[in-house]
């Protein structure tokens, strides 16, 4: 039974998706360089569906620092920080210099639940399609949002 099936499979096209290339290139650095210059093309991964939950995106400007996202995040991936840019605030007491509250997301702690996205009143968080996040450093710039 299996013999028959196996025989058929031998002549069938493999089910494999050839991401990122069929075989490992000789030198990955030069391969990537060639990819960049457009000489070779990477085979894309199986396309993530719409609404895929990938790396989070943050629109720092529309964030009001309400901290709701940090409250619901199940993995303590979000920290509330003071923005590095000081702004002048106009309040009842007059103008003061203040560092507004913003957030910082550690992607390597995130479990991609998108709860923060749902909760954000300003809709300034999004899940992107990006999921190739491997890194040698868990605190690399790529894995902290917003970048420094």
């Amino acid at each position: 039974m299996m013999m028959h099936e196996v025989w058929k499979l031998l002549f069938k096209k493999p089910f494999t998706n050839k991401f990122p290339a069929k075989y490992a290139p000789k030198n990955v650095h030069s391969y990537l360089r060639r990819v960049k210059s457009g000489k070779v093309k990477l085979v894309p991964p199986i396309p993530p569906p719409p609404n895929f939950r990938g790396k989070i995106q943050y629109d720092i400007d529309s964030c009001v620092g309400c901290g709701l996202c940090a409250q619901v995040c199940p993995s303590k991936a979000i920290e509330i920080v003071r923005d590095k840019k000081w702004i002048i605030m106009h309040c009842k007491e007059g103008a003061t210099l203040a560092a507004p509250l913003k957030i910082k997301i550690y992607v390597s702690r995130c479990v991609f639940c998108a709860q923060c996205v749902d909760v954000c009143p300003r809709k300034c968080l999004h899940m992107s399609d990006e999921f190739l996040l491997a890194n040698e450093d868990k605190l690399s710039r790529d894995l902290i949002i917003p970048g420094p």
Binding site: T16, F19, A24, S75, A134, E136
Partner: protein
């Protein structure tokens, strides 16, 4: 530590250690072996003994019971070796960020080369982790011109 030669990258034999993960990452590792992703294309194969391994794939937030075992596995892998941590909980605890029976994350116990965030990462992301490991190895050998 003996230096890895250029064939080392293209023939990574991996050994998988579960240190108390939720299985999510583990089944994705397994899935990466199956026809759809087939990491054997890159010479990667899963081996049953740490002595044969070149890379340790570690998942999970390291429970108290597993600390010593993890260390032992690490020592059993002959040099040169690579450690890839898969999944957020192995990187930082993830959802299990605070507990009385967890001693992780993994890099507190053994040195780690590549982190693959995701909960769980897609099999492709695991492949990407391998690519990052290649890049690192090439850099170590000075082949990144």
């Amino acid at each position: 530590m003996p230096t890895p030669n250029k064939h080392f990258d293209k023939s990574l034999w991996v050994f998988h250690v579960n240190t108390g993960s939720c299985n999510g990452c583990d089944i994705e590792i397994l899935a990466a072996l199956t026809p759809r992703y087939d990491v054997e294309r890159f010479g990667i194969k899963l081996v049953g003994s740490p002595r044969h391994a070149d890379a340790l794939l570690v998942t999970g937030p390291v429970s108290r019971d597993m600390v010593d075992k993890l260390k032992r596995f690490y020592e059993q892998v002959p040099d040169p070796k690579v450690v890839i941590v898969i999944g957020s909980c192995g990187i930082s605890g993830g959802v299990f960020h605070e507990s009385y029976d967890l001693v992780g994350p993994v890099d507190r116990i053994i040195p780690v080369d590549v982190y693959v965030p995701g909960c769980p990462p897609r099999p492709e992301a695991i492949i990407d982790g391998v690519v990052k490991a290649w890049l690192k190895l090439e850099r170590l050998r000075g082949e990144n011109k």
